[in-house]
Symmetry: C3
Subunit: 316 residues, 3 copies
């Protein structure tokens, strides 16, 4: 932790809203901080007193297992107190605005609001209305920066510290994916080459403006990539006009056994979870030796510890 | 904290059920205790070990953001453990009685039950059935004593320690409001003059028996009051026979800009939240310099810390 | 706690899945450990640092007040961190498998998963998929081992340490009851004589194979038993073809006042809760001096502390 304090000129942000706004150096600094914190989770006593007496509020306006639990564990591991503020049972159902709710939470003397919200821009809106730190845990189809950071961390770890020059395919419903967006920002800043793969209805050409290659033909790139990051098919969000059927999706964009065998020998397989086994990813591949899926979860905790730690070190 | 222990003859109650039963001196003692605890929330490490190893159970049979969160934070700040016991997922849905549930919770060795319940008298009923402390967090239309106390705290703070002689208007649906009731008891005991303002269907004359003035004409008193406490319009509870329309409510009883300008220059504006902006209160006024609305929230935490602390100091 | 460490050859299990698999000596060892931990709950500071920095996840796929709260309090009392993972708001609603969910939770570095699940065998399935400890908090109609242990603890305590030779009647819907099953295993291993009592549709003869006596006539055994353990009538699970009416159930299998008077003078009355007062048990009996119902709740906490402590002492 001393490294972070001594070098805190490297981190001056009170909020983490997205990866678009971060510099490559800032991203590397979060990953380095996560690296030094990851070891805490392997101890018998999985706790450091870094944030003792601080309060983190999980304000989730969308259901989530992993992300909410991951932030809660990350906060606990830093000895912070955590309050869960979930939609049901809250004033939100009484028609209160997001900002009123947040201001009220803040008036109780809390240090960080971790927000997940269906509206793009919700985290930023919040950060302009409160004095405490805001961490974006997913805002609509905009960004999910801690997912982007944990994916970067996992790729960096897998390739001995080097992200630059790696070819990363992100596959699926790109248009609706905040995970894809945060990954594109992060990966390109660190010098990776990103290929976005998906059907035209779910992957507009405009994504090239983010600095990524866009292709609708998975098979044309499958043999050249170092990393395949399969997105979850969100049936509930995809309209029937956008894709004919699940079976067709799997046959064109699923990571099937056949496709996997045409990958590079040391290809690294990722998925943000929760998986639809047998749909976007074959079960054996997800559980196989080249899968980094559970490492992503483990690293997510370290990344979130780093983020909570860093944003709370920045004064008013 | 020593003051409390040394002077504990000033507080001998194991439960906080309502303000009706408290003496002026008891109320002042809670406010003084809150005052000495408020500073904890401004520390970097927002925690004192006062209730370490004690267990507080939040038993809420009605949804609530602020109150539940406020109690949870208050308990954490005193280093107590907090268990959340919410209606859904509980035995209540299996038809168990309130008292059976409470006795079972108590048998697990807990120290305080904080109860919110739709039935007036639920907290008192509970207090006669269990040996642990009971704190009423709102029972039907009966009382919401910690809200009353935090309102008193905020008024006292605003007027340099003096509540006596202040004129306080409480405006809106008085008949259904436990907030109003607890405020009337507390304010009159401390020597304030209370005016209850609302339509005849929501404010029976019988409220005069509580020691308050009753008026159905907001404009007739607007110029003379030191404090305006606007209640939330609870659309879900008001029957259409009781009031013609929201628009008419606003025009007759809302704190509009026009009405605000006819107030005393240093009038103090309060609202227990969550607000219906533009209905019972104009948005600009709520966010303006004379509004104490967020201070109420901040003080609520200190008051709840004081209450949890005091009731647990009283033996079996 | 030293006793446990010194004699840890007496406990070598990483998981607690059921009482069927435990030896009499293992059961006695859990009860002895619970006995030494029970005193913690009577202290002013109800906390020991035994599991500081450990993480317990409550993963409940079925609603429960007591069991979930009891485990949460037990973990807190040992200074563990507790994460609540309830069905709603989780990835389960997104169709994720039990095992994927559990592996993901585990990848976050947790020590114990306490699982309640509607499917018999869910806890065992989980234990084969994760490296952390698994504690069964009820799996379908299979087992509820901590309930069995707390019932044993309460009987042992009531009869001065002696379970052997006691006659215990378990009454009600035996076929669907994991509580009955765990009790039968535990009681017979410790040398008690178990009588299962219920209507033929809810109590097949095959239960004799577990080593219990089976009878459909409550009155024929009422006078000879030392303990009557009344199960909850689960209206929601019993089909109308299995029993004609609630009234008839009460008249044939309820613990009425009349039946109670035909019991032994020092008969001990138990119920796992929540009770249907007036249906399977008369209210006065439940609250009377021979009832151990609230002691069961108190002992449940001690037993769960013991279980959480013991399973986490067993290495990888």
């Amino acid at each position: 932790m001393k490294a972070a304090t001594a070098e805190d000129k490297r981190w001056t942000r009170k909020h983490l809203l997205g990866l678009e706004e971060l510099s490559a150096d800032e991203i590397r600094f979060v990953l380095d901080t996560a690296s030094s914190l990851k070891e805490v989770s392997t101890r018998s006593v999985k706790k450091v007193p870094a944030l003792r007496g601080k309060v983190v509020v999980n304000a989730f306006w969308e259901a989530s297992t992993r992300t909410r639990t991951s932030f809660e564990l990350a906060a606990q591991r830093l000895s912070a107190d955590v309050i869960d503020f979930s939609e049901s049972g809250s004033s939100v159902s009484k028609g209160e605005t997001l900002i009123d709710t947040a201001r009220n939470i803040e008036a109780m003397g809390i240090d960080v609001i971790v927000i997940r919200h269906p509206a793009a821009g919700a985290a930023e809106l919040l950060s302009r209305s409160v004095r405490c730190s805001v961490v974006n845990a997913g805002d609509g189809a905009h960004e999910h920066p801690t997912q982007g950071l944990l994916d970067l961390y996992t790729i960096r770890e897998r390739f001995g510290g080097k992200v630059e020059g790696k070819k990363v395919a992100i596959v699926g419903d790109i248009a609706n994916s905040r995970v894809a967006r945060s990954n594109v920002w992060g990966l390109t800043k660190l010098g990776a080459e990103v290929m976005l793969v998906g059907p035209p209805t779910l992957l507009p050409r405009s994504f090239e403006q983010l600095g990524a290659r866009v292709t609708h033909d998975f098979d044309s790139v499958i043999g050249e990539v170092d990393v395949v990051n399969m997105l979850r098919v969100q049936f509930e969000r995809i309209k029937s006009s956008q894709f004919p059927s699940v079976r067709e999706f799997t046959s064109m964009y699923g990571l099937t056994w056949d496709r996997f065998q045409r990958c590079k020998k040391d290809v690294f397989i990722m998925h943000p979870g929760p998986m639809n086994r047998g749909i976007e990813i074959q079960s054996d591949i997800a559980d196989g030796p080249q899968s980094g899926i559970l490492q992503q979860v483990t690293n997510g905790l370290a990344v979130r510890m780093a983020v909570l730690y860093l944003v709370t070190q920045v004064g008013g």
